[in-house]
Symmetry: C2
Subunit: 310 residues, 2 copies
């Protein structure tokens, strides 16, 4: 089982899948287009949200960061005149400092991530989509913005005209997930209910990524991040409007046209299923607590089995 | 007034002096031989101890670090398998991260220090002894040890055969303190009661530093870090024994022979004054609370006036 994921929404389904798919049989591919250098530190927000979620360390209320976090660093930094627009908790900072140190010593992001996951007791294989840098750039009427400047500093307020993924053409997808995607015994490739434009498209922009999904014998199943004309969290709905798309589950399915073999959408959008070109499964897709996450994951697995049987 | 200082003991007297000498008239020269790179961060322990002490942020009980510190970073780092032998508090970390960022951007250590001090309300001018790297290396029977490995990781346990200050010959003393030392209206140059071998000698090892002290019209006054055959804190006494020196105020004065014009020693060591080649002032030198620090500082200032009158 391979799951492509961004941060919050994707991490919820990834957690559900991790409760059903044993240990290393689950490969989670994390978007790294959101990664950036801040205060001299390498920050990988989606990798960390997935890692903390799978390790049981995540702050589930906030949807990002760690539970039981303290903020002494941030207030001391503010007094020293440092940049405070991106919040870094004291415990979270250990991840960034130690990762930056190890990257500077020549380790690959995937190797550092694998070691952190092992130490934190994360059983699935969590892979950054690539060990090479890819940086999402948001094109707005006011010019280009680095992703985190758009997302955090400007609170997604600027209008998005388009997105580009700097470095994607030169980046190599991590070979492990391409290999897993190609295995004949892989049960499914799941596109998690993450923002298609900023969480999934960077993964798909890697050379060979789309081809790998098309060539896979396993069914590729996307789960809609849009429910009843809105997104659960984050800028997906606003971004779709700005990109001239209707805010519908259907529009997301159309965005993945040619790549997916099945689509999971919310009961609230059941009426859209007829317009969608691939087999659909309608179910409750809101994931409020862990049982919701496991239930949706189970539904995705059953859907994959059905598609596999053909 | 110019004061040469290491960390804890020196910072106590520096705080006392700062209560008596108005703002920028006090120049405090901090040893940077203890500086090191750790976890990719530039750490300047003596600069920080002085800065936190003068800003009223120091943890006076511990003698290092910040009051009201939290330790979430450290415990998270431990879980990730990071190096934990050097304790970094969450608030302290802001100093290291922001300083490292600014140094990497091309600023000088002295410029970053001056800006931090301004923001933290530190009135005296706190200068790193040099903007160039100097690294104290401890030679032991087991080989050479970087200073913090000796001092913190090995708790000063290895026997010290000698010390060297790598980079000192190429380093330029910060010109501001040489200039202040040379001013005809400078009232005194004070060598604080810091460890002579690891806190003061690195400063004196800089090209031109000894010459500047000898050429100064202001009296150079050292305050003994040894009281009644022991040092208040740190490895001074153990180190003196290992270097073959008696643990006496006299031996410290002899170490500074040719450089100092006056020597302040504790009442407990009054009998040694006769053997010391320069004028002495005996007084209570223990600094338990702020009034002790101010009282000793005042005593040093009066002694300087007496020496100036000649």
């Amino acid at each position: 089982m391979v799951a492509l994921s961004g941060g919050i929404g994707g991490a919820k389904l990834a957690l559900g899948l991790s409760r059903l798919v044993p240990g290393e049989d689950l490969v989670i591919v994390a978007n790294t287009g959101d990664d950036f250098e801040h205060l001299g530190l390498h920050i990988s927000p989606d990798v960390d949200t997935l890692m903390y979620t799978l390790a049981g360390l995540a702050n589930l209320d906030a949807g990002w960061g760690r539970a039981g976090e303290t903020w002494t660093f941030m207030s001391a930094l503010e007094r020293l005149g440092g940049e405070t627009w991106f919040l870094l908790g004291d415990g979270d900072l250990a991840t960034h400092v130690e990762r930056t140190r190890r990257l500077a010593a020549g380790e690959a992001l995937s190797a550092v991530t694998a070691d952190f996951c092992r130490r934190l007791g994360v059983a699935p294989r969590l892979l950054p989509m690539s060990d090479d840098p890819v940086r999402t750039v948001v094109e707005t009427p006011q010019g280009e913005l680095d992703f985190q400047r758009y997302f955090v500093e400007r609170s997604c307020e600027p209008v998005v005209r388009s997105l580009r993924f700097a470095g994607a053409e030169q980046a190599r997808p991590h070979p492990e997930w391409l290999r897993e995607a190609a295995r004949p015994d892989t049960a499914a490739i799941v596109i998690c209910p993450s923002n298609p434009f900023i969480s999934i498209d960077p993964i798909l922009a890697l050379p060979g990524a789309r081809e790998a999904l098309r060539a896979a014998t396993a069914p590729v199943i996307a789960v809609s991040p849009v429910v009843a004309g809105d997104a659960i969290k984050g800028p997906t709905a606003k971004m779709m409007r700005e990109l001239g798309l209707p805010v519908t589950a259907h529009a997301v399915a159309a965005h993945y046209a040619g790549l997916i073999d099945g689509y999971v959408l919310d009961e609230a959008d059941a009426s859209e299923a007829d317009q969608i070109a691939v087999p659909c499964r309608t179910t409750a897709t809101l994931m409020r607590d862990e049982s919701d996450k496991v239930r949706l994951a189970a539904e995705v697995l059953r859907f994959a089995e059905a598609l596999n049987r053909g």
